[in-house]
Symmetry: D2
């Protein structure tokens, strides 16, 4: 334990650090790097306040975890393994340490995975690993185990990752704060008071059901109002196209004027830890700026669109309207656009749709369990009509994304297509 340090935080007011290990982890260069990765990727192009970093979110997850554990200790719950405190705090702090720039787009195009990178950073030759190893020889391994959900005590992993975990609680509040929407607010203090350890699980006291309902309703709204916002989707699609285009050029041996090592190794599929450490959003934006000046017209155009926020437009379409898709391709070709890089069908339901579902087998997240006065556990959707309703909703509009100029230039096919889309 050290003299308490505090960080001013807009969401939690203050973040309290009471352990030297936590303090030292925050000061590693791997953790400081999270300042250069935005929490919400491309969302800042939709909500201009959303510039907050994964650094601030990681501190927030740590703080919520700290508060939960502190409540467990104050109440001396028998089912809480007190010796796991520091492990939980470190795993909470580090769970996102492997996130790269614009993760969604890069992971999709290059097949990287941020959880793997978190574990590589924790276990590799890093300052983070040095700090953890000072606790005990196996501590870094345990922290990685909690993040990858292989750690032997389920109660520890589910504190860090479950349907009601510190991660989600922080990001809903934080993303609502920085975007300025007021959908993400719920009564955190009340939820912190009603969770408790019980037979190796984190459960919720029955009387807290309504607070959890409210949390799940916030989550529902945030997904549809913020995370799946069509303009954000547009930015992500565009960034994906840029990366695909650059990758294809690279594979064709195109001579890039600026090719820093981390990007080269990303293209070659052989990113080292040292590369990964340099791969932040500043570098990505610098690369995009150079690409916007490249000779290849498609790469230059797409990169410029992203930088200057000239995003694709979108129209709602019926699911799998194959004919319409063909008409779009034809109109684009007529207008001089390569349809491979200037057209995309998007189905939010293909995304990891993060509405609470109690029953999906593939879901590796603990469902939310209510503990009643008779020590009986019930999954929340069996008790709450509103949760049952939300978890049963399958929704999401299918949209087609294309450059705004398609209809402005007004070739014959585009005109016909436009009439079909809007004059119906």
């Amino acid at each position: 334990m050290i003299e308490e340090k505090v960080f001013k935080d807009p969401v939690h007011k203050y973040i309290y650090v009471q352990d030297r290990t936590v303090w030292d982890l925050i000061n590693t260069k791997e953790f400081q790097r999270l300042r250069r990765i935005r929490q919400l990727g491309t969302s800042f192009l939709t909500f201009h306040g959303a510039e907050h970093s994964r650094f601030s979110h990681s501190l927030g997850v740590y703080e919520i975890t700290r508060k939960i554990i502190s409540q467990f200790e104050r109440n001396s719950y028998a089912d809480w393994p007190e010796e796991e405190r520091l492990l939980c705090l470190c795993a909470a702090l580090l769970h996102d340490v492997g996130h790269g720039p614009f993760s969604h787009s890069i992971e999709k195009v290059f097949g990287t995975n941020h959880e793997n990178w978190s574990c590589r950073i924790i276990l590799g030759d890093t300052e983070v690993n040095q700090v953890l190893s000072r606790v005990s020889p196996t501590f870094a391994h345990d922290v990685a185990g909690v993040i990858c959900k292989t750690y032997r005590k389920e109660i520890v992993t589910s504190l860090v990752s479950s349907q009601l975990d510190a991660d989600r609680m922080d990001y809903l509040l934080r993303d609502a704060y920085f975007t300025g929407v007021n959908y993400g607010t719920f009564d955190l203090e009340r939820i912190l008071r009603v969770v408790r350890p019980y037979k190796g699980k984190i459960v919720v006291k029955e009387s807290g059901m309504h607070a959890v309902e409210d949390y799940l309703m916030s989550r529902y709204q945030m997904y549809w109002q913020v995370y799946f916002h069509p303009v954000t989707r547009s930015a992500e699609i565009l960034l994906g196209k840029v990366l695909e285009c650059a990758k294809a050029l690279f594979e064709d041996g195109y001579p890039f004027t600026f090719m820093p090592e981390p990007i080269l190794h990303l293209f070659q599929g052989k990113l080292s830890l040292q590369d990964y450490f340099l791969l932040d959003e500043s570098l990505m934006q610098t690369v995009l700026m150079y690409w916007s000046l490249e000779k290849d017209p498609v790469l230059a155009d797409l990169s410029g669109r992203f930088l200057h926020r000239r995003l694709f437009k979108f129209s709602a379409v019926e699911e799998w309207d194959k004919e319409l898709l063909t008409e779009f391709r034809d109109a684009l070709e007529e207008a001089g656009f390569d349809a491979d890089y200037y057209l995309e069908l998007d189905f939010p339901s293909d995304q990891s749709y993060d509405v609470y579902r109690p029953d999906t087998g593939k879901e590796d997240k603990q469902p939310i369990l209510l503990l009643d006065g008779q020590d009986k556990l019930t999954e929340i959707s069996a008790r709450s009509e509103i949760v049952k309703s939300i978890s049963g909703i399958h929704m999401g509009q299918h949209r087609i994304y294309y450059p705004a100029e398609l209809f402005e230039r007004g070739g014959g096919k585009a005109v016909a297509l436009q009439r079909k889309l809007f004059d119906a």
Copy 2:
């Protein structure tokens, strides 16, 4: 006029755009570039929430100006020149368009000036200039005139820049919101209701005096709690040292491994508009990262310190304690540090100390005038005891900044110095 567009904004809830010219300006690449410049420069290293951009601040200044003008129009004030509406809105939106990355440090080291750049962007071959020129042939020139305070109507310039202008009102609220401190809050809605045009000036209805007092008290607190925070000063000093060191190396013909054109031209003192456009904080951070890998040990070390947030420590000192300064230099040299790059005396009072002062001749900002029921104008500090008090305060601690290792390594001179400083 166009169909109203809105931006979600955490500070003003919504920002309303009702003019095509304003909408088009926002969509220029020069204005979009402000997304890549932080509003508070290095403050994010002190307050991790302070990642907000000059883009969001510029929208905020526009919105406050829009609200003030809208109130003027609703009340049909005779002294308000209605034909200046669009000019005011555009000048409010664009007043910061010339800001570069980490302006304070770069302007100090390289002698650039963001107001000049704003005017170059407005008058040069830019998308901004094209949009403005569509209004009228002289419109761009007028906008530049308002920003440089040469425009012929004082009422227009003082709306955009005075002791109670839209600029300050937005940044106090915005910086308080994103840092999470609660010093910057004041009753904006009330102030907007009590300002009015009067004989070519913007004045405040007497009954609004207390709201203005509160605004000035907020400003006072924000300066000392946020803008002059010693940790932020430390980051700025460090960044200044990095830039000085790189500039000296450049002048010595040092072979940099990465030297993008905007940086080259910055060093050569011949930045073009096109260079300036590419010079954002992403590029600066990428450059710092490359520099942290350079062979020159001082440049590499200083750059790494900034990137990984290993800032200089500081100690309060008596003003101009020449002897102590010499002892610091000696101890640093003994410990192997080049004192030119690892030591700095800092006096906040040397900074542009932005506490309200009614009377300073060099101050080009309109003082705040109260309008009473008898149409008499009185400068506020003649009426308000609290404003008089604040404006009379001369304060600010003198601090010396140096690397934390100085005392950790513990050479003999450092030990003696440490004893002198802390055991007194």
Copy 3:
């Protein structure tokens, strides 16, 4: 029009009065009386912040209506009858002017009705009537017509009373603010921007659907977390018992030591306007205090329980568990309690359950209609999965209320009953 007046309001920041008629109405003694009637009746016994008055709520409803109309006028909507502005504002301000103290309980026991009283006050010999009559000879009649929903233009009545009216929007925000719960917050500014007049109705632009969803979710949560809170129900039940007991005693000729005229006339079923004006919550609390000192032991005991917040306890029960009810009656009699006054079954679903229902015939409130780009109207639950879910929920626990002492005194029947209830 007069010089704008403002009221400081915690919910809307400021309330703006711009019409002499509105200003004069606020200053009538009938409207000032609303300061002495709490907005949430007995809820202050559950949420100690909930002391806010119907005066503040009425100003809030007025302010929201003013903002909606102002938006209609700014946009010059053809379907908005501009001449109805003042009528809407006055009806909004006065819609609750007939509310008595603790309306729910008193209306239930004595069969009074606050809407009728609103109209009596508006049409009777009152200051309110004088102010309205200065507008035009028929104006008071029109205002009463809007409140009683007989006014000829549906668009006017539905602005004041519908599923998405200024009344509900204000009370959700206000009750959330004063109780301190954060369930009632929704994006008022956005909703105000998406409502519009259309063919004699108030409709919602399709793009505002999610904001309306959020409003309906808030409403759902507020009903279950605040309005139907079991402790508040307990206080209301207790107050009902007090009133029933006093009424029965009165009918038996009991000699009350303190019987002010308004109470006497309430008992006699012949309340005059002048009586009603004196009948506020101060008088009711004073009467309760005198009753707590009466010789009749039941009246004194029940009144004291209410005053000193010694509310009935409650237990969840199966619907219509007749046997249990009998056991309770027996145990109460054994313990010396008159079961008529010390026992109550409560079914929130018997209450006017104010969750959004699009289709109920008895519902006299306009459903919420979405207006799409093709000028087509769709009832919201046909478009929104979440609204469909909420509107289909039938819930509410059945509870039995009884004095806490029943089990503390511990007669044999009580012990048996207690075992049955809690040890199952």
Copy 4:
């Protein structure tokens, strides 16, 4: 200790009760009575949200005290007498238990004193005394001692009552919240973190100086914007006139139609504990309503003015303008008003002017002491320029209050007076 109970509170989110004694005190009828006494007396006539009760404030003072002590215990400060915890909590909770309705006015006219009453309630035959006596035979006496500042340990009394006590911290935040002004906000959490026990005093860690400055600036603003608001003063003056008039009538043997015992005994100067318990704001408002129907024209008129909020107008005047005062008296007599009851000169500086003063001998409140790294204590105004400035300000306008009709009726003397006042 009991199972933790919580109250939902808008200011502190939740109030936590962890001791049976505290829980039992809250449930006494003497403490419940505080629900019927407004925290801000007549301020609700200026700020309609200000209906909050002394009940909620008392809980808030308790909660802040609990948090301070809990921080002391967490840090195991040697200078904190841990055995005094419950005493501090009870004194904090009960410090206002003796407040009567509209204390300022009643205390002034009848010479009662709420601190004396608090002690009478704590020491007398009350439920509060019974609860306290269950702790130990001397506990009630100790609690009374802390409230009357005679308790032997200064650290205990100064926690409950000093220049930076839980009382002030709660009321500034609470009054700001309920009135809706934003002057009263300061960083409570930070202040709680920097106070500590030191050699029998509560002191502030030097690094917390700016947070304390902000608290004192809030206090300054709240006094001038809220507590001494001229409209609130007007209401208090009017209420004082009502009471003086009724008292004079009583002394003359006037036959009141309604004279409840507590009022009778108040007039006779022999209030018993039982009377005092019945004397709440409901009773006062009921009495005022009856008085507004009395035959005595002055009493009826003044009472009606208060009830219907027809307050006196005011004009700023020079200090002690004796001539003007005479002119007012003459004009009032001419217009048929008894100047004794319809005229008042008000000097806020005569009020207990609660701006921080470090040095006044008559001040029985501990000044604020800063503790530096060398364990040296310094009074804050010796360190903070802004505190020095505030504490040196002597301000306050002198105002004359009179009925609005004086100038409306327009007798000759009134016309002359009006011209003198407003046309100068």
